[in-house]
């Protein structure tokens, strides 16, 4: 038995050291936008004016550096309200923002994320309000280890976690020379529409509206103003979404907006004919994002003052 155990240890010890080292390196080299966003948030938590929550619409659309005041963004690619609510619960305990910008895109209301998503973006490692039990594993490191080499930090995010230079494969509009006829027939449009249509579920929308209400209540309780923002989308997307008759958002806004503590800024059609400002039908590119953030900043200034 001694011989067996000692030989087993010859295998287990180096493998254990390798895995522990990889885990430490992975946690230190986390290149996700949420890691960088959280770093910024923690460094500035005592002096923050505003927080941004939402999906890639908000992440790609709003660049906090062009907003007056100190704003941290938690907008996250692929996010949904169930995720945002958990992050919001954490953020409101750590900071005292004056306002919150919350995604109000129509199709955002149909999003819902499962534990797989939560694991893939490593949320429980940063936000105690997202339960670690929702993870399917306890460690960042998973085999095969070759996926972590070369060890590099991140794409070129700015300090707010915004990514000015997006990967080439995302930039569908540039690839299609910003032409409607080509965009319309591109397979990704079909895939996007199928995805959006397939995701529509009345129960999830209802859950999301409930989450809106909870965020709203908690903001009002803490005297935080809440601004629902729908970022600009391209007209092809707007027309498709119009056809889906997702009317819950408008009804909800009519119910809650008081233009004193709760606002709704709808920019769906702001740039809808200007393809040069988008990288695909529902996301602004860097230039579009700078332009839009400046417009938003001006509107926010008038609202908040």
């Amino acid at each position: 038995m001694k011989l067996f155990l000692s030989k087993l240890l010859i295998v287990i010890i180096p493998v254990g050291i390798l895995l522990v080292t990889m885990e430490v390196l992975n946690r230190r080299n986390d290149g996700s936008s949420i890691y960088i966003q959280n770093e910024y948030f923690l460094e500035n938590s005592s002096k923050l004016d505003g927080l941004v929550f939402g999906s890639s619409y908000m992440w790609c659309g709003i660049q906090p550096q062009y907003l007056d005041g100190n704003v941290a963004s938690f907008a996250l690619e692929g996010s949904a309200l169930n995720i945002d609510y958990s992050i919001f619960t954490y953020a409101k305990e750590v900071s005292r923002p004056k306002f919150v910008l919350l995604d109000a895109s129509k199709t955002y209301l149909i999003n819902y994320r499962t534990p797989n998503f939560i694991k893939s973006v490593r949320l429980p490692y940063y936000f105690p309000t997202i339960k670690a039990s929702e993870l399917t594993g306890y460690f960042l490191t998973e085999i095969p280890l070759n996926q972590y080499f070369p060890l590099e930090t991140s794409p070129n995010y700015d300090q707010w976690g915004y990514q000015p230079e997006i990967p080439e494969e995302w930039n569908v509009f540039k690839k299609l020379d910003y032409q409607d006829s080509l965009i319309l027939n591109h397979p990704r449009m079909e895939a996007l529409y199928t995805f959006v249509k397939g995701n529509i579920r009345a129960d999830k929308t209802k859950e999301n509206l409930d989450l809106y209400r909870r965020i709203l209540k908690e903001c009002l309780d803490k005297n935080i103003r809440i601004i629902f923002v729908s970022t600009p989308k391209y007209h092809l997307f707007n027309r498709y979404v119009d056809g889906l008759h997702l009317d819950e958002r408008e009804a909800f806004m009519e119910e809650v907006v008081d233009n004193e503590h709760v606002f709704f800024l709808n920019y769906d059609t702001l740039y809808e004919k200007n393809s040069q400002l988008f990288f695909d039908v529902n996301h602004l590119n860097n230039e579009g994002s700078i332009q839009f953030t400046k417009v938003l900043n001006s509107d926010l200034t008038s609202i908040l003052n």
Binding site: L18, G137, I143
Partner: protein, 474 residues
């Protein structure tokens, strides 16, 4: 809890230490195995533990009853009670919805007094049902005596290394091992570890790489070239082999570490020279179960050639249905049965002994025979992976269309490396019990350790992200 998870690594380490250091009497070890097996199974869903307990209790009591009575009718009634309970549970959880749908389609009716129960299939139910049934049938046939020790009987039914995906053990082989003093053997445990390592390599490296490619091609087979479909069909058979035989290797290895000898489940079937040889080497414990408990009781080959062929077709169909409550599985079984029958009808001279028994390399005839057998097997297996019969037919038609001669879309090169290692090692070891069986005295330590670390590093650095074991769905 799956063998390839960190949870299991922690679990088996605790069980191993308790088993050999603290629970060092036979009774305590059997109790520990029983508790560990229930924890292992309960990790998936503790609610389904009740099914194993019911199954174990019924067969334990019926076994005792069979031992007490000599009255034929009573014995028969007891046997039927066991069959009704075990097959009833299996039917309810696995086949009820399938037969309900089939009934509706067959009689063109919209509704029946019964509703579909739409319940999750309890993991391993098909495996442990056959295992526990074999005990009752053997006791009924007086091949074995009823087992009196309730703890070891329950541990036999739920023995965690082979509980969820086999090998399907016979009571005659496994139960007596629960009654014998188990002494730790270094050679046995080291060999078990080697077999586990080989199983891990087959699953995590080869099967998982195959799974990625196969999933990609099979889900979009309408857009793929025939040549790509052909490679995917081959990759799928390699995936199933490595996934399932990898699991069996791990199960047998774990058994050896705990002092048990489990039955070999795969005997290098991909080197078979004809269909009959392949089915003697593929999922051995299932095929032999159907042979002993279905084929032979039906009359086997004793009732004329036509009946023999029908009996063979029946067990292949049943084997297909055992795999899953879906028409494609039934069809898969029927097609393999037909291939087997054709082989019997036009039987050429049956190959004897191991392949290439006179040398290192096979003869040209043997190479041809092996490729032919593998291809027949791989083409029929398409139906095992595809969703509907129509899709299967379209897949095969597209595969053998003119686009068969086009340049294929190739999988990750790591899959090629994995297959080269797999086939080389298994070819070299084809007369041994498993791919890494070696004699510590004859093989130099440096070579052995180089092999271990090479495989471990390959698994750690270049395996593919995990998919669940393929046979867990059955």
């Amino acid at each position: 809890m799956s063998f390839t998870t960190l949870d299991f690594a922690v679990f088996i380490s605790i069980v191993f230490l308790l088993y050999w250091f603290l629970f060092n009497s036979l009774k305590r070890q059997n109790t520990l195995i029983l508790i560990a097996s229930y924890v292992f199974y309960g990790w998936w869903d503790w609610k389904f533990l009740s099914l194993i307990i019911i199954s174990s209790l019924v067969d334990y009591l019926i076994g005792m009853g069979l031992g007490r009575t000599k009255h034929n009718l009573k014995r028969k009634m007891l046997l039927y009670s066991s069959l009704a309970t075990n097959l009833g549970i299996l039917f309810l959880f696995k086949y009820f919805d399938f037969f309900l749908d089939a009934f509706k389609v067959l009689f063109s009716i919209q509704s029946t007094p019964f509703q579909a129960i739409d319940v999750v299939l309890p993991v391993g139910i098909s495996f442990y049902t056959l295992q526990t049934l074999s005990y009752t049938i053997d006791v009924y046939n007086k091949k074995i005596k009823p087992h009196h020790d309730i703890v070891s009987f329950f541990a036999f039914v739920s023995f965690f290394p082979q509980l969820v995906a086999g090998p399907i053990e016979r009571a005659a082989n496994l139960l007596p091992q629960f009654g014998k003093e188990r002494v730790f053997s270094y050679e046995k445990a080291a060999d078990g570890m080697r077999q586990i390592l080989w199983g891990l390599f087959k699953k995590l490296f080869v099967a998982n790489h195959c799974a990625i490619f196969v999933t990609e091609v099979f889900t979009s087979f309408g857009d793929q070239q025939g040549s790509t479909l052909f490679i995917a069909a081959i990759a799928f058979t390699i995936q199933v082999y490595c996934d399932f035989s990898g699991y069996s290797d791990m199960a047998i290895g774990l058994g050896r570490i705990l002092g048990f000898n489990l039955t070999k489940n795969f005997d290098y079937p991909l080197f078979s020279r004809d269909i009959s040889e392949l089915w003697n080497k593929w999922h051995i414990t299932l095929i032999s179960w159907f042979r002993d408990y279905v084929y032979i009781p039906l009359g086997g080959s004793r009732k004329g050639k036509i009946r023999k062929l029908l009996h063979i077709l029946a067990i292949f169909t049943l084997s297909g249905l055992w795999h899953g409550a879906h028409l494609t599985f039934v069809l898969w079984g029927v097609l393999h049965g037909i291939a087997f029958l054709l082989h019997i009808i036009w039987r050429e001279r049956r190959p004897r002994g191991q392949v290439a028994r006179n040398g290192f390399l096979p003869s040209c005839v043997e190479v041809f025979q092996m490729i032919r057998t593998f291809l027949i097997f791989a083409v029929i297996n398409i139906i095992f992976r595809i969703d509907t019969f129509d899709d299967g037919l379209n897949f095969i038609l597209e595969m053998f269309s003119l686009s068969f001669f086009s340049v294929p879309y190739l999988p990750d090169p790591a899959l090629g490396v994995g297959c080269i290692i797999l086939f080389s090692v298994e070819w070299l070891q084809r007369n041994k019990n498993h791919g890494l069986e070696m004699n510590s005295q004859k093989t130099k330590g440096t070579i052995r350790w180089s092999i271990y670390f090479s495989l471990i590093l390959l698994i750690l650095f270049f395996s593919a992200p995990g998919s669940q074991f393929f046979y867990f769905q059955f």
